[in-house]
């Protein structure tokens, strides 16, 4: 459907991930310098200029599994470690939060405002690093260039494509349940009152026209109290976004849990994914690029061991182990089959794309890249 969903998907999911990691780093009393390094490393990788330029080209969104792989790697782009159970939970929280934001957008173009809310928070995270801050500013420019003047109909197609990505996901999130934003069956609570989208009329009036001029009007009763939206959010690099969707809901520190409802499990198993066994070459090429970037980041293995620390998304280690044991089968996924050796001899198209990306093939870099790509290969 839409070929413009990938940047919004990636940036917003990434933004949610950063909110959660920031909260866990504080909750686990990780020293300030280490926390900052983790946040800076991840944001720096996320917003790598070359990767962003590729991401913003019109293309199909990655499959669910590819997206999960990308965020797995991203979460480990620094000295922080997450074991599988915590990574599962992190991903559940990220996806349900963004699904909520996409579902509840008043206008389709509010998707961009939600993205800006995430970007505004990310900019604060990297305030004192000029290099990363300029990467972030570059992404603001890309967002405005590609999305700020899109008509509503196009935004709606983007939104429908995103909703398709999140279809049938009903994982219960304790913050949502507590705030009555989500029901116990995992469905979001949709209110039949509140502000109408900016520019829309409050339902209840029927207007009649004679020869194009307003003639009379009548009213009909409507259950639910609707009010007009008085302000429109800003689509510029700095401004009041008006909507609260996309802001950090973890700012108030409280325990964050997820429960996976049993019917949600069945739902995911039953509906077959779009996931193709042969992902398109552009997606493969970008994942390769990201893998190379991951490989080039961070310190040498020795130093890494000293500085590395583990983040736990659960209350304590026992809980984490418990979850690992009862880990639902849906996460034993096969990763995309990226065979680097085949690519070298591969199709003309792929070689051209790889050539265009012009990744410098130093000895060390490519071996690191190979290792990561092997990790990404599915077990046969």
């Amino acid at each position: 459907m839409s070929l413009r969903t990938l940047p919004l998907l990636f940036i917003n999911l990434g933004g949610e991930m950063l909110y959660i990691l920031d909260q866990r780093l504080r909750a686990q009393n990780i020293p300030g310098d280490k926390s900052k390094k983790v946040m800076h490393d991840i944001i720096g990788t996320m917003f790598n200029k070359r990767f962003m330029d590729e991401l913003f080209k019109p293309q199909e969104a990655y499959s669910k599994k590819a997206m999960r792989t990308v965020f797995d790697r991203l979460a480990h782009a620094s000295i922080m470690r997450l074991n599988t159970a915590s990574m599962d939970k992190l991903y559940d929280l990220m996806t349900m939060a963004f699904k909520y934001q996409v579902s509840l957008c008043l206008r389709p173009s509010d998707l961009l405002l939600v993205t800006f809310n995430h970007m505004d928070a990310i900019r604060v995270f990297v305030e004192d690093s000029p290099t990363i801050k300029s990467q972030v500013d570059n992404v603001y420019r890309l967002l405005i260039q590609h999305y700020a003047s899109l008509p509503a109909g196009e935004f709606q197609i983007i939104r429908q494509t995103l909703l398709e990505f999140f279809q049938d996901m009903h994982i219960r999130v304790s913050i949502f349940l507590k705030d009555k934003v989500q029901n116990s069956n995992g469905r979001f609570a949709l209110h039949t009152s509140g502000p109408v989208p900016y520019g829309s009329d409050i339902p209840g009036t029927i207007r009649y026209f004679t020869d194009g001029r307003s003639s009379k009007s009548s009213d009909f009763s409507v259950t639910g109290k609707y009010v007009a939206s008085l302000r429109e959010g800003s689509f510029e690099a700095k401004g009041d976004r008006v909507t609260k969707l996309g802001t950090n809901m973890y700012n108030v520190s409280r325990p964050v849990e997820t429960q996976i409802a049993s019917d949600a499990l069945k739902g995911v198993a039953a509906s077959s994914d779009v996931d193709s066994s042969n992902p398109n070459p552009l997606a493969k090429a970008e994942l390769n690029l990201l893998a190379h970037l991951m490989g080039n980041i961070g310190t040498t293995p020795d130093k890494k061991k000293d500085k590395a620390f583990r983040i736990n998304l659960f209350q304590n280690d026992d809980e984490e182990e418990q979850h690992a044991v009862t880990r639902p089968a849906q996460y034993d996924f096969k990763v995309i089959n990226i065979d680097f050796s085949k690519l070298k001899k591969g199709s003309d198209e792929l070689s051209k794309i790889m050539g265009d990306l012009a990744i410098p093939e130093t000895g060390a870099a490519s071996s690191k890249g190979d290792d990561l790509l092997e990790l990404m290969d599915s077990a046969s």
Partner: protein, 329 residues
């Protein structure tokens, strides 16, 4: 005016698309078929009269010649003619036409570069039967593809391409030989089916997508993303009535022409039925006859089961059933 009836369970949830419900009733067999798009497949539920016996089928859009997976479907619609009926499926790659039970594929047409939108997006959206033997399909570019369908057999051919829309097509409906097409800018064009098709008039849009369009008598009604329903006079193109019908995007609208009833379903969780009747004035009189909230569901399909509007069905995003309503006696 209506009461809630037994729902029809589906094998999968409905995708968030415009007009995501198509209904075909076969009174002689006492069967009603419901077709709902779920990502890359169409779920068909065949209901016997008392809704006790439901038979399910699934139709997917196999890409011809391409090894990689299935493509996303944007619309599935039963197109009925005097001699035959078909199930038409629009995807990201092209148009496929099947026997109504989805068992046999009769025809396949791939979209080309002339149907591609500005950012390279390719899809079909909006389909209707027209006249005696035409099927018209809308594209991302705004073009309308006209196919000629013989009374029987698979010899379906492409007849012509119509231009006129500058934005992606959102819906297509017909009333006999008259065809209305709507697009993402809210514009509506009225055509007359024939060899070739001729363009009768164009009603300009005001920026909000016209997600559903219905033709009846001398009127054309459009449902919009702004939550409005507007009724225009076909001949003059002047707006006659504007209903502030819903608080959010209207995703679907249908008409029961012999009863003068319109049903609209919106993201705001409400389904509403409106009666449109000729009064003494130049404009028709409109009354809200029924309003129901399907709690916590963003509705995406609404369809009357037959022309007299006695029953209608509604679907919603992430929702696994068709909610059915029947007129109280």
């Amino acid at each position: 005016m209506y009461r809630k009836d037994k729902s029809v369970q589906l094998k999968g949830s409905a995708s968030c698309l415009y007009n995501n419900l198509s209904v075909m009733s076969m009174p002689d067999k006492n069967v009603t078929s419901y077709a709902v798009v779920h990502k890359t497949v169409v779920n068909i539920a065949n209901c016997s009269g008392d809704a006790m016996n439901i038979q399910h089928r699934q139709v997917s859009c196999k890409e011809m010649g391409a090894p990689s997976g299935n493509s996303m479907i944007l619309q599935a619609k039963f197109c009925e003619f005097a001699q035959r009926s078909m199930l038409v499926i629009l995807s990201q790659r092209g148009v496929q036409m099947f026997e109504p039970d989805g068992s046999v594929m009769l025809f396949w047409h791939a979209f080309g570069s002339s149907d591609t939108g500005q950012a390279g997006e390719v899809f079909g959206r909006g389909v209707t039967a027209a006249g005696e033997g035409f099927i018209v399909v809308g594209t991302a570019k705004g073009t309308l593809l006209v196919f000629a369908v013989p009374p029987k057999g698979p010899n379906i051919t492409m007849a012509e391409t119509l231009t006129g829309h500058s934005y992606a097509v959102s819906d297509l409906r017909n009333n006999g030989n008259e065809v209305a097409s709507a697009d993402d800018s809210g514009a509506i064009i009225i055509w007359k089916a024939g060899t070739p098709f001729s363009r009768l008039s164009k009603i300009p849009g005001s920026g909000s997508t016209c997600t559903a369009v219905c033709l009846f008598n001398e009127y054309v009604a459009g449902a919009y993303g702004s939550g409005h329903i507007r009724i225009f006079d076909i001949n003059s193109g002047n707006v006659q009535v504007e209903i502030c019908a819903h608080a959010k995007w209207i995703h679907s609208m249908d008409i029961a022409p012999s009863a003068g009833l319109l049903v609209s379903a919106s993201e705001d969780s409400f389904v509403r039925v409106w009666e449109v009747r000729k009064g003494n004035e130049s404009y028709p009189e409109v009354d809200l006859k029924f309003s129901e909230c399907i709690t916590d569901v963003q509705l995406c399909g609404a369809k009357f089961t037959n022309r007299n509007g006695r029953t209608f069905g509604v679907t919603g995003y992430d929702h696994n059933e068709v909610a059915c309503f029947t007129q109280k006696a």
